[in-house]
């Protein structure tokens, strides 16, 4: 009998293994059902609303109900259910939008919906403020992480059902807020942070470098300043405000500022340096956002020095540039994680997935954040007074040369130092030439309309 018992134990073991795997399968099927259903060819979907209840996505939308270009400013951010764009809020959250539950199946009259943190009216005004220029803008609450404004121009009018694909401008189907961009001099924020982290405030402030308009580095290559007559002797605060390239080239070459320290700080801030490791992406409610990447070869290398000033091979997404502002504005050295979805409504009307404020790991010390904040506020007070109507503004501008300096993109990033209006932002205007609308103009519109909208609430 003992031998038969052993065989029974074997049978029991086989049955238990099968039951275990089967139980796991049932759990998996139930938890992933939303994802599966979101891939179905026909599925009833709910709407996406902004923070005021304005519709951002309606599966039954047409021009007669909403007007022809109602969705134009959010076309490549919110997207639609056509699967033409994959990195959009609707495409990535179809499971939450589906009028479906595993218990009840498909419900035509289900109440599934997504409520966003965006303010559509303000978003549209900022979109319109770009005029005939292309670019992108993003702004969020650096205390909570709510994204209020996120747009990318050119965009796509989803009401046209992609019938005009051939005539769409390049980049219409992509939200550039989440894509790599040449940061220009906004990169000097990261380099200044690295210097403060490496040497400390006092030592950095003691360093003064001269700018005569052009600096020949230790490798014998010329680094030009945008001011051909030069800025003279400057410390970090002055050079930051002047966006002085020779100063930063000399700072990078300084023997007391090791390249390893720059690399370490950059990596903590989300950079992929020298292609070592894997590129990091942020997940914004399913939307994938590029962080940053650069190459640091040697302190005297021409490209490395330019890389530290936001040219060369340095790439950063506008979203990432904005996130660094939160770590500075909060004086914590930790970025506030952004989100677009405030909450969702389940098919039965129950509220689900309420947003939570989350923070990144420590990117730099609170002391560095505090000093950097002062440097940026100083720049804002002295050069961007028009933006200070809702509180002091910490700012850094940048000009990114694209395609062998054939075109220049203009950037402006910063934060409002007001706990009642804690806004961080990043604006980029593509191919800007003198006389065009400026990033300062758009930021002014953004802050003014957003302030009105938030205080009306």
């Amino acid at each position: 009998m003992k031998s038969i018992q052993r065989v029974q134990h074997l049978i029991s073991a086989m049955l238990l293994i099968f039951l275990g795997v089967f139980a796991f399968l049932v759990y998996k099927l139930q938890t992933e059902a939303g994802f599966y259903i979101s891939n179905a060819s026909k599925i009833s979907l709910g709407c996406v609303y902004d923070r005021n209840g304005d519709v951002l996505f309606d599966p039954d939308a047409d021009a007669q109900i909403y007007g022809n270009d109602y969705f134009i400013d959010i076309g490549n951010l919110i997207g639609d259910a056509s699967r033409q764009m994959s990195n959009t809020l609707v495409a990535q959250n179809m499971g939450d939008l589906a009028k479906f539950s595993f218990m009840l199946g498909e419900q035509e009259n289900g109440q599934s919906a997504i409520y966003c943190t965006l303010d559509h009216k303000v978003n549209r005004k900022v979109y319109d403020a770009f005029g005939n220029k292309n670019g992108c803008a993003v702004a969020y609450n650096y205390l909570t992480g709510e994204i209020y404004i996120c747009l990318s121009k050119p965009s796509v009018n989803i009401l046209n059902h992609y019938d005009d694909l051939d005539t769409l401008e390049n980049g219409s189907l992509l939200c550039k807020v989440f894509l790599p961009a040449v940061p220009g001099s906004t990169q000097k924020i990261a380099t200044s942070i690295a210097a403060l982290e490496s040497m400390g405030y006092d030592q950095v402030m003691q360093k003064q470098f001269s700018c005569s308009g052009i600096y020949t580095n230790q490798d014998g290559k010329d680094i030009k300043c945008h001011k051909s007559s030069g800025h003279g002797m400057q410390n970090l605060t002055q050079a930051f405000a002047n966006s002085c390239n020779p100063f930063f080239a000399q700072l990078v070459e300084d023997p007391e500022f090791p390249l390893e320290d720059i690399q370490r700080t950059y990596e903590k801030m989300g950079f992929l340096v020298n292609n070592e490791g894997t590129q990091k992406y942020l997940d914004i409610n399913g939307i994938s956002a590029f962080t940053a990447s650069t190459y640091l070869k040697s302190k005297t290398d021409f490209n490395t020095q330019w890389g530290c000033m936001g040219q060369g091979e340095t790439l950063v997404s506008p979203l990432q540039i904005m996130l660094w502002q939160s770590a500075i504005a909060n004086m914590t050295g930790k970025t506030t994680y952004p989100y677009l979805i405030d909450h969702t409504i389940k098919v039965n009307g129950a509220v689900a997935n309420p947003a939570e404020t989350k923070y990144s790991s420590q990117q730099f010390t609170p002391e560095t954040a505090q000093y950097m904040k002062e440097i940026m506020l100083d720049n804002g007070r002295n050069h961007y007074q028009t933006l200070c109507q809702f509180g002091d503004v910490g700012v850094k501008s940048g000009t990114a040369q694209i395609g062998n300096a054939k075109t220049e993109n203009s950037l402006l990033t910063g934060f409002v130092d007001n706990p009642e209006f804690p806004i961080a932002f990043c604006i980029e205007i593509e191919n800007r030439i003198s006389g065009d609308v400026s990033t300062t103009d758009i930021t002014g519109t953004l802050l003014r309309t957003l302030h009105e909208a938030l205080y009306q609430e």
Binding site: S3, M14, I37, E106
Partner: protein
């Protein structure tokens, strides 16, 4: 012989109630387009129930548990298969169910006397060789089917019960050992290993790699039974060598598997949704659509997908009847296998045979269910009792007969059980 907990009449009542409830569900939630088609289905289900139960009056066994469960399962399967896409009796599946019941009786009668069947091993080996010849010389281009007009059989399916029978062994056989190099092994194990290699080679040659895990499970079971019977001298060295060999064979198979197998092993179904992942993606979407309670019999969309009634039948059932119903059905099969634990075999031969049957059923269920749900690579094997396919149904019926034989064995030296034992079921 066994303690009776439920009376025969109550079990029969439950059986009828199960099938009638399902028919009522079809009537209420199903997409009935023709009352005649529904009545035909209901008539076939009730007719099969009544017919088989009347037939059971004609013979005596120690327990009828498996008979009732098999009948319950087959009629559930008939209702499922008759409702995919539209409601109408699947005559083909009805015939398969009847053949399954007949095969069950054949399996039972042939294997209930463990001494007799053990002595027939030579014939069983010969039968396996005959099936090899049929597969090599008489099957179609895919080396799977032999077609007679509109009727096709898959000979490789019939190898499974034969293989389980040659894997089963009595303790006497296991004691007859000879020394080869450093190891004491029985002659039976050597022959079995040779046949196993031949079966594996044949399956590889036929590109029917989906069945390999089933044969492997049966073989591992047989090996366990050979190594772990009470008086076996378990050599740790032998076990270590076998484990290493097993891992080596698996790694080699993984590396040298044909391209189409490699593709299936590594496919990301959602990235290749309209290519190699098509059936699995559609199956998962179907399961999600069905939810716990299903969209109703005949209302599913998976019926438009290739092999919805066989390879991805679990998903098709989930879509139309709901995951809850599919779970209950799978549990019914598992409970059928668990009866071996409640009514243990009385001989070692039957014990090893039932272990082989359990391994075969579980492996095949796992391959079908977990494969169609993308938990493991998709193999395209049938789901026992629920998938359409005559050869598969006959084989499954025969295997249940073998299980039944372990629970209602025939011993030459004992008198046949008395008629009163007929009420027995646990």
């Amino acid at each position: 012989m066994y303690q009776n907990k439920l009376s025969y009449s109550r079990v029969v009542l439950m059986l009828f109630l199960t099938h009638i409830s399902m028919l009522v569900i079809v009537f209420i939630r199903g997409s009935i387009t023709s009352a005649g088609a529904f009545l035909k289905l209901a008539g076939a289900v009730i007719g099969l129930d009544v017919g088989y139960l009347l037939l059971t009056l004609a013979y005596e066994q120690m327990t009828y548990t498996l008979d009732f469960m098999l009948l319950a399962l087959l009629n559930i399967s008939l209702i499922f298969q008759s409702c995919f896409g539209s409601i109408g009796l699947s005559v083909k599946h009805l015939i398969s169910c009847v053949m399954c019941l007949a095969a069950c009786e054949a399996g039972f009668l042939l294997t209930r006397n463990h001494e007799w069947i053990r002595k027939q091993k030579g014939w069983i080996y010969a039968l396996i060789v005959l099936l090899f010849i049929l597969i090599i010389f008489f099957t179609d281009n895919q080396k799977k089917w032999i077609t007679f007009g509109s009727f096709s059989i898959q000979p490789s399916e019939f190898i499974k019960p034969c293989y389980i029978l040659v894997c089963a062994a009595s303790i006497v056989e296991l004691h007859e050992k000879i020394k080869i190099l450093f190891f004491w092994v029985s002659k039976d194990t050597l022959i079995l290993s040779g046949v196993t290699i031949m079966i594996f080679a044949l399956q590889w040659w036929c590109h029917d790699l989906g069945s390999l895990p089933t044969f492997a499970a049966i073989f591992v079971c047989a090996l366990f039974c050979r190594l772990c019977y009470p008086k076996a001298k378990i050599s740790k060295r032998l076990i270590a060598i076998m484990c290493i060999a097993g891992i080596g064979i698996l790694s080699a198979a993984w590396s040298f598997a044909p391209e189409y197998v490699q593709k299936r092993l590594h496919v990301d179904i959602w990235a290749d949704r309209y290519g190699d992942g098509y059936q699995q993606c559609e199956a998962l979407i179907g399961i999600a659509k069905g939810g716990w309670l299903g969209v109703g019999a005949g209302n599913g969309a998976l019926c438009h997908i290739f092999a919805h009634e066989s390879d991805i039948v679990f998903a098709t059932i989930c879509e139309e009847w709901g995951l809850l119903f599919a779970l209950l059905t799978v549990m019914l099969i598992l409970i059928m296998l668990m009866t071996v634990l409640m009514n243990p075999p009385k001989s070692y031969y039957h014990a090893t045979m039932t272990a082989g049957v359990t391994a075969a059923f579980l492996a095949q269920m796992g391959l079908n269910i977990f494969g169609s749900c993308a938990l493991i690579p998709f193999t395209g094997v049938t789901l026992p009792f629920l998938s359409q396919g005559g050869s598969s149904m006959i084989t499954c019926g025969f295997l249940v007969g073998m299980l039944k034989a372990g629970q209602s064995p025939l011993f030459r030296h004992k008198a046949p059980p008395k008629k009163t034992a007929k009420k027995v079921t646990t």
